[in-house]
């Protein structure tokens, strides 16, 4: 079935983006996502779009991969564009027919929103393309570690994420196996209406649940055996170090933010 699933869609490589400290990547990605929403006109949005394109080139992730990550949002894009065109009215009217009215402002808003969403998805998918899931959960653990003062168990959360990622392929294989077993016993999974098909899934998910609990129990044993007692006193094999490139990236992001604020100030807002 889905044998060759790659978790977290990591694309192996040795580019500058791959070499960056995952913590910095994580923080900067979030910062840029926020900054995207600060953009008020096409000039500031242009900076973001150029940033996204530059980052994509720097990552050396093939264009095909990036387009693939954009595929699921095509429908959302069309939907928001259509809504924006017809619901935002103002400026010159370019075209009018019965109740359909195309205005300057509507079209601009639609284009603006589309570019915004595309940049947003491109930048955030670059994060997962250039960082392994392990490094990402590690980075999340470290970035969130100040939350410890609020008694939030950051390490436990990160461990749960790692284990979830680890077991996705195992459970997919398991579902595959159970489905085949049930088919061999004459289970009909492919015909019938929605309700009938949903009902047919029950004999698949019950064994899956049972075996998952058994797995969890055994895994807990195995982890205890390897002296796992929680986050206290643990060290990490892979240390994260901030390098010069991380500071460059930070400076670049600050410059982008500053540029956007300035451009917002000097030019008329589109939205």
């Amino acid at each position: 079935m889905i044998r060759d699933i790659t978790i977290g869609q990591y694309y192996p490589g040795k580019s500058l983006l791959h070499k960056m400290d995952p913590r910095m990547k994580l923080i900067l990605t979030f910062a840029i996502i926020i900054v995207i929403f600060l953009c008020k006109n096409f000039f500031s949005l242009g900076i973001i779009a150029v940033t996204a394109v530059l980052a994509a080139i720097l990552s050396r992730v093939p264009l095909k991969m990036i387009l693939k990550s954009l595929k699921p949002i095509v429908i959302i894009l069309i939907f928001t564009a259509v809504l924006n065109i017809f619901y935002t009215q103002g400026g010159d009217t370019w075209f009018e027919w019965k109740f359909i009215k195309l205005t300057e402002k509507g079209v601009f808003t639609a284009i603006f929103t589309m570019v915004r969403i595309v940049s947003l998805v491109t930048i955030s998918s670059l994060l997962t393309y250039t960082t392994t899931p392990t490094m990402l959960t590690d980075a999340i653990e470290r970035v969130l570690s100040p939350l410890k003062i609020f008694k939030i168990k950051v390490h436990t959360l990160a461990m749960m994420m790692t284990l979830a990622l680890r077991f996705i392929p195992t459970l997919i294989e398991e579902i595959d196996r159970i489905m085949n077993a049930q088919k061999a016993r004459g289970a009909d999974l492919e015909t019938g209406g929605i309700i009938q098909r949903a009902k047919a899934l029950v004999p698949i998910f019950i064994p899956l649940m049972v075996s998952s609990f058994r797995r969890a129990y055994e895994l807990a044993f195995a982890m205890t055996c390897r002296c796992y007692t929680g986050g206290e006193g643990r060290t990490r094999m892979k240390q994260m170090k901030l390098k010069i490139i991380d500071f460059f990236a930070l400076v670049a992001c600050i410059a982008i933010t500053a540029g956007i604020i300035v451009l917002n100030h000097f030019f008329e807002a589109v939205i």
């Binding site: 899931p133 790692t162 044993f221 195995a222 982890m223 055996c225 002296c227 060290t235 094999m237």
Partner: protein, 284 residues
């Protein structure tokens, strides 16, 4: 050789509440009055059919379970609190039957690092240990792979590397080959023997494959929660009838020679060939 690493003293183990067990005669103990010890550097194979108590014995070795009565000592330490249990787990590592359920990380080398990370070892030292452990099980070239893309035997060797990297003195393997194909089984068994011979690691191998027990220093046969036979493989496998009565089969070559009525017990195919040739009255 005679230094005792693991010592069981009159150990009884109930999975249910002991008081309840005393009241109800139908509840049988998983282990009953077991005395058992493992010497340093030894290779002990524990045999028994399903439900004979061999897995319980394994889990008592590194303080996953606490005995209902009697004591289990590892290097003189009794696991009566969590700290001591932790100390025991630094001496005795364990490999389980299902390789999928004991691999924690999404990348091979990260998984091997999991144990040493828990022990709080310096990052550089962990790196060294992980590389050494992966080389020792011949999985170094796979260090950046994802575990779910490996074969069963490879996964199990990664699990063994995970224990090796903790540098425990003893490794208990609870039916490590039960879910593997013959190729994977061979890979794992070779690794286990090499660890014992070259690194001097004490091995307790729980299994129901007779062939795997043949090369052990000592064989322990369990049935109904008791140790029923104990001795060198040759001594044990010569008692074909008794082994059968405990629900076990003898290695095929041993069985053949036994059926042919040969006196001497043989353990592998080569010895078997030699004995048959001798019986037929001529050298090979």
């Amino acid at each position: 050789m005679s230094e005792k690493l693991i010592e069981f003293n009159n150990v009884t183990m109930f999975y249910n509440d002991p008081d309840e067990a005393e009241a109800n005669e139908n509840i049988v103990p998983a282990l009953l009055n077991v005395d058992f010890s493992v010497n340093k550097g030894e290779f002990v194979a524990v045999l028994g059919h399903n439900g004979s108590g061999k897995s319980t014995l394994a889990k008592l070795c590194n303080a996953i379970y606490e005995p209902s009565s009697g004591t289990v000592k590892v290097k003189g330490i009794v696991a009566d609190n969590d700290d001591k249990a932790d100390e025991i787990r630094r001496i005795v590592g364990m490999v389980f039957q299902n390789p999928d359920n004991q691999i924690v990380a999404t990348i091979v080398e990260d998984d091997v690092a999991f144990g040493p990370e828990n022990l709080g070892i310096e990052p550089k030292e962990i790196r060294r240990r992980v590389d050494d452990a992966l080389k020792a099980v011949n999985m170094y070239d796979f260090r950046h792979r994802e575990p779910h893309k490996l074969s069963g035997g490879q996964k199990q060797r990664v699990a063994i590397a995970g224990v090796l990297a903790m540098q425990t003195e003893c490794i208990v393997l609870d039916e490590p080959t039960a879910m593997l194909d013959p190729m994977g089984r061979q890979e794992v068994m070779q690794t286990v023997h090499r660890m014992n011979k070259e690194m001097g690691i004490t091995i307790v191998l729980i299994t129901h494959f007779m062939d795997e027990a043949v090369k052990a220093d000592r064989v322990v046969v369990m049935d109904g929660g008791r140790i029923v036979m104990q001795g060198k493989p040759r001594e044990i496998f010569s008692q074909v009838e008794e082994l059968r009565s405990h629900g076990l089969d003898v290695p095929q070559s041993t069985e053949l020679c036994n059926a042919l009525g040969l006196e001497k017990s043989v353990l592998n195919v080569d010895e078997c060939v030699e004995e048959i040739a001798k019986m037929l009255g001529g050298a090979r």
